[in-house]
């Protein structure tokens, strides 16, 4: 039997300490939340039957944990001997063994050491504000990102440009700090040094100079044949206005576009007002093939004309129709060599001839093999190489006059003069122009040398292959040509039937300058580009 003095210590609402005394007598004293317990402590943190106080066989009084936890100085124990001065925590309560008065064998005090927190305040402390510390976070993130960007994308590239030592050190590396400024892909040909910006961008805030290009491209052929003109055209001008720097037409950082510009503006920039570039020029202004482009100019080669008569190469505009006379040395009416013609075996031998019978194409670009007598004429025109009466015909070879004379001399020297006369008026003269010679020579006449123009549009590029869907006569009207003096080259108008200028038109393909022309031919120009 335990006779226990229980001292309950509590604080009233004003915080004043009060003690209440009670004596308990029981076999064992149970402590817990349950109403049936000897010491009833209504606190949810206690178990229904938390612990018991029991007198052991040896006479000592022990506190024994049942369903709850009891602890001394924080360490939970199952069984605690209650000796004087011992402090045990039972859940939120603190049990202290007080000095026992003589009539009891145990005196304990109970104090609610940890009060139940205020529910609302407690819950509030566990409820966080939405996005706590948001402005701090935002400020920090802003600062860090701004600092990072300013350092990597601004400070370091500028530092590399302004501090020569850093520049030199960085040059050893595959990339410079300023690589992050590159606006686009560098063309393949410049890629091996292009990752170091300063190779081209030599002076900050200035556009890439021609000198930067010339450092490598020393041997570049000049772009305009006249050195003085080239210098005046390609001089670097103002930063903001359109200049003629190399980089103006050779655009870097634009891969996969080609490095060299192919657009009309490249040409039209100067050619739309060509006098502003070269006041002395006779060239017309050109803007657009459709709207502003002169008539074509044909190249004539006057190799057969007499000495000093005219210059070898003459360019005549198609608008000057009266001057468009080809002096090929041949008498060749196209009209009689097209469609159904009479063959070599009499009037019943009718054959069909087309352009391709004589003009045979070769190569990918469909250039044409030169017309040759043996291949193209011989089949029908053997008779013209025969002289003499029907019973004594002599055949002469096709070739130089001397060979003909030799052949005639060998076969029938007596008839030489007569036969030569026949050839002059009928045989050779059937196809060839004959010129009289003034020299006291073995022969008083010569066949005019044949000179068939192979390249009428020497300043333009024309590809027959890309026009193979068209018939020849679409562009070359030769059905009614009675003489070989006729020039059957198409004019600008006939091109414009299918082609338009810089922009496409209805059923007409857009044709830029570069469709037909190459950039200034530099053949034979001086190497003055560096000067």
């Amino acid at each position: 039997m335990i006779n226990c003095l229980l001292i309950k210590i509590s604080y009233n609402s004003r915080g004043v300490l009060s003690r209440s005394y009670r004596t308990l007598t029981a076999e064992e004293i149970s402590i817990g939340r349950g109403a049936e317990c000897t010491i009833h402590l209504p606190d949810p943190r206690l178990a229904m039957h938390h612990a018991i106080i029991r007198k052991m066989d040896d006479g000592h009084i022990h506190l024994i944990a049942v369903n709850g936890e009891v602890a001394v100085e924080g360490s939970p124990l199952q069984n605690i001997e209650l000796t004087h001065g011992k402090i045990v925590s039972i859940g939120p309560y603190q049990l202290k063994v007080e000095p026992a008065p003589p009539d009891v064998n145990l005196a304990i005090s109970l104090l609610l050491a940890q009060r139940l927190p205020d529910d609302f305040q407690d819950l509030k402390s566990r409820t966080h504000e939405p996005l706590r510390g948001a402005s701090k976070f935002k400020r920090r993130l802003s600062l860090w990102m701004a600092a990072f960007i300013a350092l990597v994308f601004l400070a370091l590239p500028i530092a590399q440009n302004l501090i020569p030592q850093l520049q030199i050190a960085m040059a050893q590396l595959p990339l410079g700090f300023d690589r992050v400024w590159s606006p686009g892909h560098i063309s393949n040909s410049h890629l091996h040094f292009g990752s170091q910006c300063f190779n081209c961008h030599q002076v900050l805030t200035r556009k890439v100079t021609d000198q930067a290009c010339i450092n490598c491209h020393r041997e570049t052929t000049p772009h305009i044949t006249d050195p003085v003109l080239e210098k005046s055209v390609f001089k670097s001008t103002h930063r903001f206005s359109i200049s003629n720097r190399c980089a103006e037409c050779h655009r870097e950082h634009k891969a996969p576009y080609p490095l060299t510009r192919q657009d009309n503006a490249t040409c039209v920039k100067c050619h739309s007002d060509i006098k502003s570039v070269d006041p002395k020029t006779t060239l017309p202004d050109i803007k657009d093939f459709d709207r502003k482009h002169p008539d074509f100019t044909l190249t004539f080669r006057n190799s057969h004309t007499g000495k000093g008569a005219k210059k070898d190469i003459e360019r005549i505009s198609q608008s000057e129709k009266s001057r468009l006379i080809e002096k090929s040395g041949l008498k060749f009416p196209h009209s009689q060599h097209i469609g159904q013609v009479q063959g070599p075996n009499g009037i019943w031998d009718v054959r069909e001839i087309s352009c391709a019978n004589c003009h045979q194409s070769e190569g990918k670009e469909m250039r044409f093999k030169p017309v040759s007598y043996k291949r193209d004429c011989l089949l029908c025109h053997t008779k013209q190489l025969e002289v003499g009466a029907a019973d004594a015909r002599l055949t002469v070879p096709h070739g130089s006059e001397q060979n003909v004379i030799n052949a005639l001399k060998a076969q029938s020297p007596k008839r030489l003069a007569r036969d030569m006369e026949a050839l002059k008026s009928e045989g050779c003269a059937y196809c060839h122009e004959i010129v009289e010679t003034k020299k006291e020579d073995s022969l008083s006449w010569n066949v005019m040398p044949v000179s068939i123009n192979q390249d009428w549009f020497s300043k333009a590029r024309f590809n027959h292959a890309s026009h193979h869907t068209q018939e020849c006569k679409t562009c070359h009207q030769v059905e009614n040509s009675e003489t070989s003096a006729d020039v059957a080259m198409p004019d600008r108008k006939s091109c414009l039937r299918c082609h338009s200028g810089n922009s496409p038109k209805h059923k007409r393909i857009a044709s830029s300058c570069m469709s037909c022309h190459d950039f200034h031919s530099s053949i034979g120009a001086h190497k003055n580009f560096e000067k």
Partner: protein, 276 residues
């Protein structure tokens, strides 16, 4: 008459303006194509770039402007313009880029712009959707009111649980002690807490209610309904926090990335002018 909102402010004034700006930019883009394709350095590119830069600065100015009470125009109009013209500005900046992207400051600037704009779109969405949901969720209550009611149910539940077996008491005590609302950013944004003690308590109570004495059973029923009510209160409080967090969260991106964008844009312009 219903008040106009930021979207139909002054009969869609800024929407129309944005559409016009976008159309003009598009037509210019289609009509004037440089020989080497569109890029930021063509004259059209410079115009579009300058325009976007000015618009970015103006958009950023809104952040300062809206914190001032004394300035011209009303804030609603400014916000309407901020949203519509910001969208138009994104289109213009895209055209300015000519769709050339790489690993460089220029694309970084564009990327930051996109982050700012997309987060802005989300903010827009949040302000369109969440205020109504918040009202639906909370009704007349405030968050503090909810917490007070939860605290009251706590007290009640604990009192009843005192008379229940230990396991039930522990569950209830734990639920009251450990339930937290919106602790941590992720929880706030998700609007629920995995392993929420309140939910677990309700779940476990259903299992534990079987072997009780007759008087306890009545108390148990009371306790159970209190705990269920408590759980729904907790859920509503969390939802409220979620809406408020989501309405503010997009600014985590919108504001710092705007600052980053301004620095990047400055670097972009300096880079272009330095390596002309």
């Amino acid at each position: 008459m219903q008040h106009s909102n930021i979207f139909d402010y002054k009969k869609y004034r800024y929407f129309k303006l944005a559409v016009i700006v976008i159309l003009i930019a598009f037509f210019a883009y289609l009509l004037f194509k440089p020989a080497v394709g569109h890029y930021g350095g063509s004259w059209l590119g410079y115009i579009l770039g300058t325009l976007s830069a000015i618009m970015v600065l103006w958009m950023a100015w809104y952040g300062i402007r809206k914190r001032r009470y004394r300035s011209r125009g009303n804030t609603q109009g400014w916000l309407s313009a901020h949203i519509y013209l910001g969208t138009a500005m994104t289109v213009i900046a895209t055209l300015h880029s000519g769709f050339h992207f790489g690993i460089n400051i220029h694309t970084l600037t564009y990327g930051l712009l996109l982050v700012v704009v997309i987060s802005g779109f989300f903010g827009n969405y949040a302000y369109m959707i969440y205020p109504r949901l918040m009202t639906e969720n909370m009704g007349e209550d405030s968050l503090d009111g909810l917490l007070l009611r939860i605290a009251e149910t706590d007290k009640l539940a604990r009192q009843i649980a005192l008379m229940m077996p230990d396991d039930i008491n522990n569950i209830v005590a734990r639920a009251c002690r450990e339930t937290s609302i919106g602790v941590g950013l992720l929880e706030q944004l998700r609007g629920f807490q995995p392993d929420c003690p309140s939910a677990i308590a309700v779940q476990q109570l259903t299992v534990l209610g079987n072997d009780l004495s007759l008087e306890q059973r009545k108390l148990y029923r009371d306790l159970y309904s209190i705990m269920v009510r408590r759980q729904s209160l907790v859920k509503r409080a969390r939802q409220d926090l979620m809406y408020r967090a989501r309405m503010g969260f997009w600014l985590y991106f919108h504001v710092p990335f705007t600052v980053a964008l301004l620095v990047a844009m400055l670097s972009h312009i300096i880079a272009v002018l330095f390596y002309w």
